[in-house]
Structures are given as structure tokens and as C-alpha cells.
């Protein structure tokens, strides 16, 4: 949490600040069945107390395996979910009040994973890209709106004439460009990108990542980038948070994280990635699987899979401690047991 004070610039609040946020979901069975089976309520702790801040013009990425809560954080960050606990602060204002104000709301936008599901197949691209403009009443004049859509399409590497086409006439990469154009149409400052390239082929992924970096440079955008792919994350991030079972286990500047990963889970994750240089190399994969977030292990959530786990790890949940530029939640690192 001490990390939040360290935002870039003098006196300017970070674009987004997340303070000890949790989001629980009730996954109980229906009341009658619960009574018959004599069960209690069941709660899924999708996000369980995480804190971070994103300074203006920078990219914070969250990585982790499926079910770690990274997409829930993305939705919390734009207010699509409310918090169970903690607060989300957007540019100095509480998000729930900021969302009530259309002028604030248009400053944040989201890009989704699947460009086949996130574009209405029955709308022309022109209408898709212009939707935020209409929703926020930004350009009431139709001709001005069409001109703006043309500019946006050009900006993302399509042509203004593409506005007359339907989504099915485009490839996956082109569709993701349309999603980006739509997200940019309300002139946002903050974009939440939830696995924006996961559904794309690798050669197309490179096009989209380059485009996103280029737009950030030109327009000073702030990104919250969600991905499971560490190699992708390295290319776009200033800072990276590693999530496991609803908690942040490590938060560090991008280069620091890759040069010196501290948390045993971060290390295991990096070890597990097959890469091109190791033709034929044997690896020792981390054993076990991610436990259920409905009944997480006591103490540190990673302890059943961790080679460094001891009694304290099984008993006591580790808090974030500072180690150089890195924040890490690990008893072993705190006690220096990881360096033996």
C-alpha cells in the first residue's frame, strides 16, 4: 500500500488507484437445496484484498493463470463490478461517484479479448465505432461524427471506407483494430485491456501490440493490461503485478520482475514457459494445480505447490513487503529463506 504514494509527477494523483479491494461472489446453491443438504453459504473470493496504483501515461499489467481474478480486477477498475471491500479511485475521485458522471465515464474505456463476440454483427463498423460518441452525446452532428470515425479508423490502420462494412468482412486482427477505434472514440485517457491479443495469431498479435504502444506514445494513454502471456506483458508494461488466487503475490517494475523474480510462484511461472531457445531441453514443471477460490488453502495460497513452504506459510497469510523496487508477499523472501 505504501506503493501508492509513489506516483509519477508532483502532486498529480495516479490515473487509477486500487486500495485493498476485494470482490466476493455468492455461489451458494438455492436456499431449499441448501437447507435439505444442511450446507452453509459458499463464497467465491475472486479478488481478495489487492492494492496498486497506475501513474498517468504508464502501463500496469496483471498476469496470472485462469481463475486468479485478473479479469475481475479489470471489471472492478472500470466499475462494471462494485467492490465488496476497499475502494477504487479514478483520477483522485472515488470510482462509484465518478461513474455517475458521464464526463468522467467517457475518460475510461475497455478493450475485450474476443473481437468476434464484442462487435455487434448486425451493425456497420461506422455505427459500432460511433456508439460511444452517440452514447455520450459528444458529436450530435452526423456528418461530424462520420468524419471523426474516419479519422479513428485511419488511426488504427484501417481506411475510412471500411466504416460501411460489417464485422464479418474483417479478419480477427482487423476486428480488434475496430474495437480499439471504438474504445478511442470518446477520447479516453484510461484503457482497460482484458487479454486483447489472446484470440489472435502471433503475427497479428505483433501488429496489435505495436499499435497499442504507438497510440500510448502519441496520446499519452494509461493502460491496465490483463494477460496470461508473460512475453507479451514484458513488451508493453512499465510495471507488472503477478496474481494468484485473488491476491497480488508480486508487484514490480517490468525489468526488475524479469531480471530478478522474487516470489516462488513468479519463478515457477517463468520456468514453465516454453521458449524458442531450449530445443529439446527437459524442464521440471511446478506440480499441482491452482486450488479452488471457494476453499483457498490457509496461510499463503501458494503453499501447497511451493518448494519453500514451511509451517508459517501454512498458517499465516503473508502481507506485501518491500524488497528493493519489488513488493512481494512471501514469508520465505521476507526471512531470506529463498536465497539459501
Amino acid at each position: 500500500m505504501s506503493d501508492t504514494a509513489r506516483s509519477q509527477g508532483a502532486g498529480q494523483p495516479p490515473m487509477l488507484e486500487v486500495r485493498d479491494v476485494a470482490r466476493y461472489f455468492d455461489v451458494s446453491r438455492p436456499l431449499l437445496q441448501r437447507l435439505l443438504a444442511r450446507e452453509g453459504k459458499r463464497t467465491l473470493r475472486a479478488v481478495d484484498g489487492i492494492s496498486f496504483a497506475i501513474p498517468r501515461g504508464t502501463t500496469l499489467s496483471l498476469v496470472g493463470e485462469s481463475g486468479c481474478g485478473k479479469s475481475t480486477v479489470a471489471r472492478l477498475a472500470v466499475g462494471l463490478y462494485g467492490t465488496t471491500r476497499g475502494e477504487v479511485v479514478f483520477d483522485g475521485n472515488d470510482l462509484s461517484s465518478a461513474r455517475a458522471d458521464a464526463a468522467q465515464r467517457r475518460r475510461m474505456q475497455m478493450i475485450f479479448q474476443d473481437p468476434y463476440a464484442s462487435l455487434n454483427p448486425r451493425w456497420r463498423v461506422l455505427d459500432i465505432v460511433a456508439e460511444p460518441l452517440r452514447a455520450f452525446g459528444l458529436l450530435p452532428d452526423r456528418a461530424a461524427r462520420e468524419k471523426r470515425v474516419g479519422e479513428l479508423l485511419t488511426q488504427v490502420g484501417l481506411s475510412p471506407a471500411d466504416g460501411q462494412k460489417f464485422p464479418h468482412e474483417f479478419s480477427g486482427g482487423q476486428r480488434q483494430r475496430i474495437s480499439i477505434a471504438r474504445a478511442l472514440s470518446s477520447n479516453p485517457e484510461f484503457l482497460v485491456c482484458d487479454e486483447p491479443t489472446s484470440a489472435l495469431d502471433v503475427s497479428v498479435q505483433a501488429q496489435i501490440l505495436n499499435l497499442m504502444k504507438d497510440l500510448q506514445r502519441r496520446m499519452g494513454l494509461t493502460y491496465l493490461f490483463i494477460s496470461h502471456n508473460l512475453a507479451v506483458v514484458r513488451q508493453v508494461s512499465d510495471r507488472i503485478g503477478v496474481m494468484y488466487l485473488g491476491r497480488l503475490v508480486e508487484l514490480a517494475p517490468s525489468e526488475t520482475l524479469f531480471e530478478a523474480p522474487r516470489h516462488p510462484y513468479t519463478r515457477a511461472l517463468m520456468e514453465a514457459i516454453p521458449d524458442l531457445d531450449m530445443t529439446g531441453r527437459e524442464r521440471i514443471p511446478v506440480g499441482g494445480e491452482v486450488p479452488s477460490p471457494i476453499s483457498p488453502p490457509s496461510g499463503c495460497a501458494f503453499n501447497p505447490r511451493c518448494p519453500l513452504a514451511n509451517d508459517r506459510c501454512r498458517r499465516e497469510r503473508p502481507g506485501m513487503t518491500r524488497a528493493g523496487a519489488t513488493l512481494v508477499a512471501c514469508h520465505a523472501v521476507e526471512e531470506g529463506r529463498d536465497r539459501q
Partner: protein, 345 residues
């Protein structure tokens, strides 16, 4: 490795000039065109390419499960010297499972949700091997242990939904291998899994196929998986083979401009680059594959001949590439070099 070379003369699987067509109302689409390759016993052939390039289609043609109206229009597929592409449905069904095992991307759709995993394993074993039900059950438990399912003797009576994604994929692998097939076609076997589970499954697949001398055709879009697992790689583009060769060569010193572009566009894990190499444009649709080389509209080295004449696989050092740059008769010669140290041409 050396004793394998004696058997090298007779490949286990041979695909010759395979052409798959889909008749549609607007004319016939050619999904695969003149695809030829072979796999030896104990060898892992990786097949990579963008979605729609024909990787899965090639796998489906080999196991005889092309979706209608798709059909093999030309060429032949030989397993151990015997043609299997023209067999009657019932005969092919017996080969599938016994001789050729299949692993698909999504373990939940591969398994029947209404039967216990034990029943599904036993059924497969009894169909293909002469055993009593009790023997088959013991063998099913053995295979569940073999793929690393803890408490196999208890878990055998569980239903697929009672397993996690990674465990389900282990069951699917047990199902594919339990009749001891000689060839396994694995279509994106780890794509639906998380990286830590993916590493476990790859290690398992490598160990089992090595121990049993099984040949594997591994279809995936993940070059990292290929680099770690495969002996040779085939790169596909728009329904044709662009390049085929030893994995190290294709990854480190690709000869086809498309393979080179594909390798370069993979974000590196070990460093940050300001601008990723990208291949502009997109793969052509099946209905609009250009005359000449299908890659020429995106190719940085295109010259006149590429636009009019379609290249076949040409020897290019240690790999074979379908690219006119490697034809000694072409006046234009390899202006690019691979990323690795190997000198070629």
C-alpha cells in the same frame, strides 16, 4: 537416436500430395493443396501456422474425420505402407484408436460427460485389444497412473466433470494411448490449459511417446511448445506447406520468408523490444488465394516470378521451403538471413 536412422527408410506415416476440397454453392474451395510429408516411428512432427492455414484439417484428414462436405480430392495417406485414406468407414474406425490415437484441444468435449472415465477407457481397450472386462479395468487404472492421476484406483469411477482441466487432459491422453497406437495426432493439446499445467502435459506427452516409440503429429500455434517438443517442424500457410525441416533450423534459421516473419513476430521473453517485427496484412481467404505464391502479397522479398508461378518445396540447405528464392534458376537470391548462426545457400 542413431538406431532410428536404420528405420528411417520406411516412414510410419506418409502423406502424399494431399488435396482437400470443400464444394460450396459458390464453387469449390481448396482447403489443402499438395501437402506431402512423412513421420517416422518415435518422431515428433510439429505443425504450425496461423488459424485457417490447414493444420487441423491435415490432422482430421489423417484420422479420417474430415467434416463433410470436405473430402480428399487427390493424393494419398499411408500408414505403415498401407493406404488409409480410401478405407470404408468401419475399417477406418478400427484403425482409429488402435493404430492412430487422437488428442484434441478441449478435453471437455472429447470426453463423454455421461460415462465415468473408467468406462470410456475400458470401452476403448475392449474395442481394440483382446481382453476380459476385468483385465481392461486393471489396464485402465494402469494408464490413469501412467498419466499421473493421483489415486487412480478410486478416481476411475469419477465422471469427467469431477476432474479439473489439466486432469481431464491427462485422461484424454490416457484414452488416446491406452490401445498403444503407433501414431498420435495431437491437435492443440495444451492450448486450453494454463502455462504451469501446459508444462506438465508436454513433459508427460514427451515421456510417454518416447517410452512407447509412438510417432506424434503435434498441431499447435505455439512455437515455444514446438521448439521444446518436436524433432521436425512443418510450417503451413493458406493450405500448403511453406517449409519443413529440423526444428532447430526452422526456428533459428528459417528459409521461407513466412517462417522468418512468424518467428520474428513472437514476443521475446528475455528482453523488451521497442517495435515487434510484424507481418502486415492477413492470410488470404480460401476463396481468394492469389495465383502464384500465396504469400507474395505480404512478402518483403517478392519478385516477378512469385506473382505468376506457384513454388513447390525446394531444397534450401537443411530444410525444404516453397519459395522461389531458393530455386537456383531464379535470378534473385536469398537477400535475408535467418536469426541463427547457421549459414545457408
Amino acid at each position: 537416436m542413431n538406431n532410428l536412422s536404420a528405420k528411417a527408410a520406411a516412414p510410419l506415416l506418409e502423406v502424399r500430395n494431399l488435396r482437400v476440397e470443400f464444394p460450396t454453392r459458390r464453387g469449390t474451395l481448396t482447403a489443402l493443396d499438395d501437402v506431402s510429408f512423412s513421420i517416422r516411428a518415435g518422431e515428433v512432427l510439429g505443425v504450425v501456422g496461423e488459424s485457417g492455414a490447414g493444420k487441423s484439417m491435415t490432422g482430421a484428414a489423417i484420422i479420417g474425420l474430415l467434416e463433410p462436405p470436405g473430402r480428399i480430392a487427390r493424393g494419398e495417406i499411408l500408414l505403415d505402407g498401407q493406404r488409409i485414406d480410401n478405407l470404408p468407414r468401419e475399417k477406418m474406425r478400427r484403425i482409429r484408436g488402435k493404430q492412430i490415437g487422437a488428442i484434441f484441444q478441449d478435453p471437455l468435449t472429447t470426453l463423454n460427460p455421461l460415462y465415468t472415465v473408467g468406462r470410456q477407457l475400458q470401452e476403448t481397450i475392449l474395442t481394440h485389444l483382446p481382453m476380459t472386462p476385468a483385465q481392461a479395468r486393471a489396464r485402465a487404472i494402469h494408464w490413469l497412473e501412467e498419466v499421473g492421476i493421483p489415486g487412480a484406483a478410486q478416481r476411475i469411477d469419477s465422471y469427467p466433470h469431477e476432474f479439473s482441466g489439466g486432469m481431464r487432459q491427462r485422461v484424454v491422453i490416457a484414452l488416446a494411448l491406452c490401445a498403444e497406437p503407433r501414431l498420435v495426432v495431437a491437435d492443440e493439446p495444451t492450448t486450453a490449459l494454463d502455462v504451469s499445467i501446459q508444462a506438465q502435459i508436454i513433459a508427460l506427452l514427451k515421456r510417454l511417446t518416447r517410452e512407447h516409440g509412438t510417432a506424434v503429429m503435434l498441431v499447435t500455434h505455439d512455437m515455444g511448445v514446438i521448439a521444446e517438443t518436436a524433432d521436425r517442424v512443418a510450417v503451413m500457410y493458406a493450405g500448403r506447406l511453406a517449409e519443413i525441416g529440423p526444428v532447430r533450423e526452422v526456428v533459428k534459421a528459417p528459409r521461407h520468408p513466412y517462417s522468418a516473419g512468424l518467428m520474428a513476430s513472437i514476443p521475446p521473453l528475455d528482453r523488451k523490444v521497442e517495435h515487434l517485427a510484424q507481418i502486415d496484412g492477413a492470410m488470404p481467404r480460401l476463396s481468394a488465394i492469389p495465383r502464384g505464391c500465396a504469400y507474395y502479397p505480404r512478402c518483403p522479398h517478392v519478385f516477378e516470378r512469385c506473382r505468376v508461378e506457384r513454388p513447390d518445396l525446394i531444397d534450401a540447405g537443411t530444410t525444404r521451403a516453397a519459395c522461389w528464392l531458393h530455386d537456383p534458376a531464379s535470378e534473385k537470391q536469398v537477400p535475408f538471413s535467418g536469426t541463427g548462426s547457421t549459414v545457408h545457400v
